[in-house]
């Protein structure tokens, strides 16, 4: 794969930020590694000065080896035709970070999703209510420590299939559970 140069326009805007590391990646994407405290300012700078106004995604990666979460903010500029992924790492405990909803409205969805799936709390995010896992009370399932197979083994019982089941169901008048919890009131 061909590796691109760091675009001069990006370097000129970001070079003053201390500790920043800029790496060209595949295609038009540039990776920027920043300190957690500097990220909102960088997103603001990119949006204001270079037109990075489209937030494509916020992705979260769980790194139990270092006890950290990596958050990746992928933004696109319609003017520069360029993608920047800004990477920050935060400690898993307490797993808290700031919301960037005031800079990019779509962050609301991604932060809610990450909160639900990884348990990261975003301070200032407008809505961290459950969305997908509304009746789930277990740990955030996208954590590496959550083992889906072990959960299934512990929660459900393996039962061999018996063809008589179908006959039992038919005898009761079809697939409608008329006695259990799902019975129509």
């Amino acid at each position: 794969m061909k590796q691109a140069q760091v675009p001069a326009v990006l370097e000129s805007v970001l070079h003053e930020i201390p500790g920043i590391q800029i790496t060209p990646k595949e295609g038009s994407r540039v990776r920027v590694d920043v300190a957690p405290g500097a990220l909102p300012a960088i997103l603001e700078l990119l949006k204001g000065q270079l037109g990075f106004m489209h937030l494509s995604a916020i992705s979260c990666i769980d790194w139990p080896q270092t006890d950290e979460f990596e958050l990746v903010y992928t933004v696109w500029s319609h003017e520069q035709k360029m993608t920047v992924s800004a990477h920050v790492t935060i400690p898993r405990d307490p797993g808290e970070y700031v919301s960037v909803y005031d800079i990019h409205t779509p962050a609301g969805f991604f932060e809610r999703d990450i909160h639900e799936m990884f348990g990261v709390r975003f301070d200032g995010s407008p809505n961290l209510r459950k969305f997908i896992l509304t009746s789930w009370n277990g740990p955030p399932p996208m954590l590496k420590s959550f083992d889906t197979l072990a959960y299934v083994e512990e929660t459900f019982q393996w039962v061999d299939y018996r063809p008589e089941w179908l006959r039992d169901i038919e005898a009761k008048g079809g697939g409608i559970d008329s006695e259990g919890e799902g019975a129509p009131s």
Partner: protein
């Protein structure tokens, strides 16, 4: 006398009521729900409620080999599965440093554009059905079936093709398929005026879709809207042109736009996009026979393939907008993390909630369909 511990229960004003719209409702796209609070027939507040199609794709992909995930990714979005396969494959290729042979790139473009036409035909039908025009659905699905026949002949499957793999495509095109495809797109063009009569020239559509679910370009940009929904607001943003992939730079096509930003404009953009996809397919059909060579680059043993550590973000312009795969490898034989960014994550949640507020109850289904929101992309 009231007891001392009496506390009046807070009721909403009697002229307001709540309605749970979905998840099994003929006017909703897929298994999805919207909780709406209404005053009369005007929506005061809408809250999207997803999760009915959550199958934990991102989690499962972490426990499957890189190559096994080829079978999983198309299942994320039923109406438009090919961009899923392509984006996943390109993200793995970026990580593994694989160069896709030119012939495979042309075949992928063929698959992507046929998938786009299929998805748009579906959306026309769905959108028409929300305002009482059911014939479009039947015609659209029957036309789409002819394209599914093409898919079946190329890949062996009609919907979930599992055809695009990291490094290229699974097998070469069968003989005579380009002529068959050519005949199907001729048939689509022949029938296009009938679709116009039925839909775009219909008084019902003009009265119901014009001015419905309108957003400005500024709103669309701040809400993260992409794809035809954004182009219906006047911005000609298309990843095939702006952040090109595969052989799109070699193809001649226009980016259709509209300015009204309403349901009608969104459907008009899709109609024009079908015409552009036909234009692209004609170029692919003309070019493919002269592009010789392999259809896949040499791959390591896929059952023991350790993809180099790193991260990649590959995205495609799907029929709905920006579809991205953010994939992280720790150098192992399985992905460490896969994040799927579907365009409907914006369109079906924040955008839908915003557009529904102030709309009327009879327009809920139409607004959702006109956004072409795909719930399985949201739930993953």
């Amino acid at each position: 006398m009231r007891p001392q511990n009496y506390r009046p229960v807070a009721h909403p004003p009697s002229h307001e009521y709540e309605l749970y719209f979905g998840p099994n409702h003929p006017g909703i796209e897929g298994n999805y729900a919207i909780r709406v609070r209404l005053k009369g027939d005007v929506i005061q507040e809408a809250i999207a409620d997803g999760g009915y199609l959550h199958r934990g794709f991102e989690k499962i992909m972490e426990s499957r080999l890189w190559i096994q995930n080829v079978a999983l990714v198309p299942r994320i979005c039923v109406p438009d599965p090919v961009p899923m396969e392509d984006s996943y494959a390109r993200s793995v290729e970026a990580l593994g440093g694989l160069e896709v042979p030119e012939r495979a790139q042309w075949i992928r473009v063929l698959m992507l554009e046929v998938s786009r036409i299929c998805a748009h035909l579906f959306t026309f039908g769905g959108n028409a059905a929300t305002i009482g025009l059911y014939t479009n659905m039947f015609w659209g699905v029957s036309m789409r079936d002819l394209f599914l026949d093409i898919f079946e002949e190329i890949t062996g499957a009609r919907i979930y093709h599992m055809y695009i793999t990291p490094g290229g495509v699974r097998r070469d095109l069968p003989p005579g398929i380009l002529d068959k495809l050519s005949a199907v797109i001729d048939e689509l063009e022949r029938r296009a005026p009938e679709f116009d009569d039925l839909f775009f020239d219909s008084t019902v559509v003009m009265n119901r879709a014009a001015g419905c679910g309108t957003m400005t370009q500024e709103q669309a940009l701040s809400w993260g809207v992409t794809g035809p929904n954004l182009r219906a607001c006047g911005l000609p943003f298309d990843l095939r042109r702006d952040d090109p992939y595969l052989v799109y730079p070699e193809l001649d096509f226009d980016i259709p736009t509209e300015t009204a930003g309403d349901a009608l404009a969104r459907m008009r953009v899709r109609k024009a996009e079908v015409q552009q996809s036909i234009r692209i397919l004609r170029q692919v059909i003309a070019r493919l026979p002269s592009v010789k060579g392999p259809i896949r680059c040499p791959l390591p043993n896929p059952l023991a393939w350790n993809v180099p550590a790193g991260e990649a973000y590959a995205r495609a312009e799907s029929s709905k907008g920006e579809l991205g795969f953010f994939v992280v490898s720790n150098g192992g034989d399985k992905p460490w993390r896969v994040h799927v960014r579907g365009p409907s994550q914006m369109h079906a949640v924040q955008v839908l909630e915003n557009l529904l507020t102030g709309a009327r109850i009879e327009d809920i289904a139409q607004i959702m369909f006109s956004l072409d929101a795909c719930p399985p992309e949201v739930d993953r």
